[in-house]
Structure formats: structure tokens, C-alpha cells
Amino acid sequence: MSVERKAESDVLVEVESVTKTYRTGNGLRRGTPTVAVDGVSLRIAQGEWVGVVGESGSGKSTLAGIVCGVVRPDSGSVRVAGQEMYARRGMDRIIWKTVQMVFQDPYTSLNPAMTITEIVAEPLRLWHGVDRREADRQAMALLDQVGLSSAVAGRRPGGLSGGQRQRASIARALAVSPSLIVLDESVSALDVSVQAQILQLLLDLKRERDLAYLLISHDISVIRLVCDRILVMNKGEVVDEHSAASLTEETADHPYTRRLLSAVPRMTASG
């Protein structure tokens, strides 16, 4: 459990014992409440890469939603850059200038009616008030940074492959110049070769930009590769925390983490 943390002053995101319960009901019956996130606290420092791993139903996506400002927790608090995220009744959209999200499914997360340039330029116009021409210019530069050629820029999402769409989603998130990007299973739906390309892009961004990332994945190897710190979630709680570089089946102390690691298929049949 020896985890290095950056200095307290660098803390960007502070999540204090958040809890979120969903009620499944059909309007007539109240249904049983499901505790999705149960008293989770988490800190992300400036420029730090934190990964959350867990099985489906462990609450990791709900946690992502809470950090992004789209799922209001029942209790607890979320502070981003010193600002209380859920202080007001309504959704505080100002928070989206600091926190951006890249979703799992690149086929449904981009507006099919807009061109790739428009998709990336829109947040620049909305959040930074730059005019259309300047926004387009900056959008092209961002697309170039994520490895999309100008040939792709004029197309709509329908004309792009899954990997290209995910690059476009990342460019759109970067356009806002956020301090934190939340990636919810953003590489899970991709083929291994395309996944490697996107992971390479993330590693390049890690070097080039001083951004904090919260990466949610059920694939512990992906997290071990790109993150600094790993949180393991089970049944709504963070059960283990580990520095990513040193995590193996042997070094994991928590039985649940070991179980997750041992279930990952190995490349060769006989070890």
C-alpha cells in the first residue's frame, strides 16, 4: 500500500466520501436501492494519472460520472481546483471547463451530423470565445496532435474508424483545455492494434501536457501501462490502492486485487 503522492498543494481533485444510491423502480413499486458508490474518497494531483479498475457493477463508471459533474452524489463532496462541484442545485456547467470526459463507445459519443472539425471547434468557440476561423485553425492543430490528418477533418463521424473517432473524442476533450480528463473505458471497444495506437497517444499526451487523468477500465493491464496509481473498486468501495508500476499478482496484498489479476488471460499457454 506504499503509494507516493504529490504534495498536498498540487491536489486538483478532492473527492470526500461520496455515496450514490440508485433506485430501480417502475413507478408503481419502489424497487430495491442499489448502492453504486459507497463512501469513496479520492485525490488526484495536478498532472497525475489515476486508474480505477473493477468488474462491471463495481461502481467505477458512477464514480467517473461523479467526478465529471454529471452524477450528483447523495452525500459527500467533490472539489475541483478548490471549487465545490455540487454546491448549487443545478448542474454547474462551469465545471466542464476544468473536467472533460471521453466515453467508451466512439460510435455514439460524437454528433453524427457535424464534421470532425466542427466537433472539435465547437468547444473552442463556446468556452474560449474564439471566432469561427480561429476555432477551425486551432481545431486542425489539435487534430494534428492526436494524429488525425486533414483528410479526415472534413468528414463526419460515420466516415471514420473506431480508432479515429476515439482520437477525435480526445481532441474534443483537449479543446476545452481542461485540467482533468476522465476516460471511461475509452480503449475497451477497440482492437488491440488500434488500442495500442490510442494508448501511445495517451502516453505522448502525458509527456507533452501537464494534465491529470482519471482512467476507468476493466482491463488492469491498460491501467498498469499508462497510470501512476491504481484504485481497485469492488461493490462500490475502493478496496485497494497501489502504485501502478509495481503491481503484479505477487505484490498485490488485497485478495480481490489478486483475484482480478489472476483472471487475466496470459499470452502463452504454459506461462
Partner: protein, 339 residues
Amino acid sequence: MASEPGQTVLTVDNVTVELDRPHESTPLVTDVSFAVRRGEMVGMVGESGSGKSLTASAVAGLLPRGVRLARGAVEIDGRAAGTDATARTRHDGVAMVFQNPMTSLNPSMRVGDQVAEAIRLRRPGTSRRDARREAVEVLERVEITRPAERARQYPFEFSGGMRQRVMIAISIAHRPSVLVADEPTTALDVTVQRGVMDLLDRLRADMGLAVLLVSHDLALVGERCDRLLVMYAGELVEQGETENVLRRPLHPYVRALQRCTPEHAIAAGGLYSLPGRVPQAGEVRTGCRFAARCELRTAECDETHPTLDAYAPGHLVRCVHVGRPEQDHHHERRAEGGV
């Protein structure tokens, strides 16, 4: 099915699948041939667009509308099998399990009835009552606890892993010789995946079921399969025993795929990403289909389309460079890299 252990139950012979258009031929799968023996699990791997799912559909007799079998044949239990989903009767020696168990189950029908329906379809004389009783036995065989009670529930009351077990129950209810499993665990967590894969392993031991496992996950097939078929752009590029294909891969594509995995990146201390993408149907050029992304590319690769040749008995590869110095040199480099 009265087949001996080790006997070939599935033979795929030169299967070529094309877009079903009157005046042009756009091949999607080209000349795929392989055989699967009783009790064997054979993995079919490749990226999206490599033609692995179409090949699997042809084997299961479920080729979708819009594509046709241009050449070749599929034989199951020594009898010819249709490849087309529009055929009136399907070969009863084969069944298929799909990726998403929620969309392949009927949401408004009790689980037990869905299994019973599969039994009655294959054996029309069976009474409803017998079929229901047998359905509970089949659910028990796929390790669903309290099968009699669970049989009366609906799919939404099952978890993802349990739904996939129900799908497997439906497909094995009539005791086929061959099960085609198309990404059966891709939507599942690793721990649930392990349970479903253990079940498939047990079914092939108990029933002698032959499994064709289609997956993009090299690690998964490496752990579970006896033999591997690697597809690229609609054709087989390497095939052989799992151990040989993964430990001593011959085709540059297989090596590149292995190096792309995060596990390899962690071990090697750096990420390798294979540039480019799989050529789509109609983009296939003359010469080697992988040439554009290959690090061993030479002029020869652009001119001649390599054939699938035996490098060693049972280990086939489609590459002009196999056995050449560049390849051997490459092997040494890899060994030094601590792979």
C-alpha cells in the same frame, strides 16, 4: 453424434465469401480451409474486418443477407452443411453462440422455455413436458444453480455471465458436434469470462464438443485453445498449434499483434503500435495484403501474393520472408529484448 475421439468433425474447404452483387465480385473471405477435431478448441483471431466473424457465420450456416458463398464447402460430421441463413434447414451438428447474450435471447420468454424450444425444434416429436424437463437438465449441465427455479425466470433476471450460459445451454441442447462461439466473453468481466471459458472446456471434455472460438483477444485464445487460426484481410495468414504460433510466431502480423498488447508493453518497457489498419473489402491490392503495415516489406511483397505454406508439419504461414535471414535476425532481436 457417434464420433470417435480425435476424429475430424468440421472441415472447412476453400471457403470464399463475397458480397452478393450481380456483376462484380468483392471477396470478403478468401480461400479459408481448416479442420477441427472432436473435443478440440480452435481459436480464430484477427482484428475487426479480418473476416473472422463471416467465416464463423459460414461454418454455422448463418451467413447474413447480402453476402454469398462463392466457392468452397463446409462439412460437419462428414455431411455437407449449408452456409446460408436463409436455408430452410440447418445442419444439426453445429450451433452458434454470439457476443451479446441480451440481444440473442428472447426477452419476453422464460429461459427454460427457450431451451425447450430449441429441443423441440430439433426433435419435433418431443412433448412440451419432456422438453421442459430436459431443459432443466441442460441448464444444470451449464452450471446454473437451482436450474428448475431459474428455468421459470426471464433473461433480465440473469447476469451477463449467466445469460451467456443460457445461450450455451440453448446451443448444446440438441448435442451438436461443433460449437461456434463468436466473441462469447468479450462483453464480460475477466472473472466471469473465466467461468464461461471453464464451462466450454468442461463441455468439450464431457461431450467431446469441438469449439471454434472467434476472438480478438490473443491472450484468451492463447490460454484456452489447442490450435490457432490467424486471419488478416479475409484470409488465413498463419495457423498451427497454439504453443508454436504464440511462442514462435512466423508471420510478422502475429508478432506485431503480440507486441501491441499492454502486457507486452509493460514487460518490454515500451509500447509498440502497429501503424495503419486492416484493408477493407475492395481495397485489397495485388501482393501481400499485410505489406502496407509490415516491417519486413520488400519489392517482392508488393508483387507476389504469398501462399499459405507449411513451415513445419501443422504450422502454416503466408509470408515470403519466412525462413529468410531477416526473419531469423528478427527472432534473435526479440530474444535479446527479453520477450
